[in-house]
Symmetry: C2
Subunit: 330 residues, 2 copies
Amino acid sequence: MGRPTMNDVAAEAGVALKTVSRVVNDERGVNPATADRVRAAIERLGYRRNDSARTLRRGRTASIGLVIEDAADPFYSGLSRAVEDVALRHGYLMFTGSSSEDPVRERDLVLAFCARRVDGLVIVPAGADHEYLTPELDAGISAVFADRPSGSGRDLDTVLCDNAGGARAGVAHLIAHGHRRVGFVADAPSIFTATQRWYGYRQALDAAALPYDPALIAMGPPEPARVEADVTRLLALADPPTALFTGNGRTTVATLRALDRPVALVGFDDFELADLLGITVVAQNPAGLGTAAADLLFSRLAGNREPAQRRQLPTRLIPRGSGEGAFRLL
Amino acid sequence: MGRPTMNDVAAEAGVALKTVSRVVNDERGVNPATADRVRAAIERLGYRRNDSARTLRRGRTASIGLVIEDAADPFYSGLSRAVEDVALRHGYLMFTGSSSEDPVRERDLVLAFCARRVDGLVIVPAGADHEYLTPELDAGISAVFADRPSGSGRDLDTVLCDNAGGARAGVAHLIAHGHRRVGFVADAPSIFTATQRWYGYRQALDAAALPYDPALIAMGPPEPARVEADVTRLLALADPPTALFTGNGRTTVATLRALDRPVALVGFDDFELADLLGITVVAQNPAGLGTAAADLLFSRLAGNREPAQRRQLPTRLIPRGSGEGAFRLL
DNA sequence: TTGAAAGCGCTAACAA
DNA sequence: TTGTTAGCGCTTTCAA
């Protein structure tokens, strides 16, 4: 038997299909008495509008797709929640998917969302190539990049945080506290944000006329084991760093685990309990990133046809001890 | 002009609509040469199947809805990611929504998902009343409750963790280390898990023949400020607790912030850096909860018609110092 | 192996 | 104020 349809309701109420549609959609111009009869029939049958059919007919699905790296990562879950709130405020529902930093999975998710005819997309790019988006954009789907830009494809709205500036400020802070050998621990250079933060690190050294020593650089896969091994290696150098700058929240946490002695430390990304632990950080704002990206997306959905924007959100240095003295747990 | 449709492809390839459908869906019985011609037309036009139309016709949308409390909370984001992974493995997409612990918002989200005709739902109930689900269930939508049961409505599959048992073990651990006055800090009793954990707390006291002192109970809204005030109040008692048991991750963190002296502490929920801080916890498994709930849901979608199950996942006590001695940061 | 026709449940356009 | 008709893009059924 399946669910009751508008037709069933119409039959039950003794009116035409279109009248039911009018009532369901609160269109004006329906006799109150008729409307009541329709509503009674709806109640009796347990009717609920099929939004799938509705959106097929109207050409807009009132849904967006969000592709992040990992829904379980606090940074991206904060971003996700912010996007969701904006979407709901606009009466949109949101599909979510995690790319696991895999460009193929990113593409598959995005295209699956497009096949469902989402009206728009917020994408944290895992890959640099977004040529695959072109037919979708041509077809009228809007897309915004968040946290990282695309390396190819059409120029699209992009919301980033000030990665280089933030890293520069963090490293400069360490230098200002007397450090001349600062280690840099971060994700692999293939990740946009890692490379940007590395630029910032270099800029801070340059500004202080300090030499750049490749031996102090530890970039690689985000696995904690790799980070811990790299930190141990750095600290075992003949001329070890007296301070470390870590490239994101995950890396900072893994680094903390690997420290066998007090070391000055500034980390990119704030994280829960960093304040209690006394970790100096360069904070970015995941929710702000999500809100900005979603706002931009909905302005496009509302008809905004201006050229693509690139927005950059500021970071904030929060001194808590580890960057001014050294981090020590006990 | 909009996107090309199957009809456009058919015209371009000089075949009938149905032939295009066959090729797009990899149905057998198409002449390879014809298929190639169709594929070429698809390529030329940038055609992509409209899954909205497809699912309307087929009656299944291959999508599920997930309603959690807050996508930004590490516990629920872990659960969310696990559900997503199971869904994707089955070729399903997932809508996500955060209820913010508001029963009305939960209902609105669930019904919005139902209007999109999701095939199934995983719900972390914010409210206790789920009568509103009945028409949807009658219409064939499957639903599974995770983390908390429903208080009303039809008996549905439910996946919980062993809240009472975990709390009992945690409090017994404190008692075994000599504590006779243990404070209990948790969410409001309206939250199922908080009440269950309070039961466990009482059971542990009873088992040790210790008196239950209402003055040691601090349950209330999840706001950090409330928790901090309550902890301060407990510690200021004439006969203060020598140990605290905290009811979830958020509460534990807020409690840590409020401590002005070393206190023995065991918290429900593991959380990032708890190991570094030396916090003894009763760990549950958010991803396990999500996986179990999603597996149950997909078994229903596959046709499983057995009576509703209630599954309970075990917890694990992890001693790290704060429960054996006392928590101290410096 | 291929195609024509009907219809999923709804809304848009146009009568009456 | 109400209803009729067509059709969104696809799959299903049945026929050729």
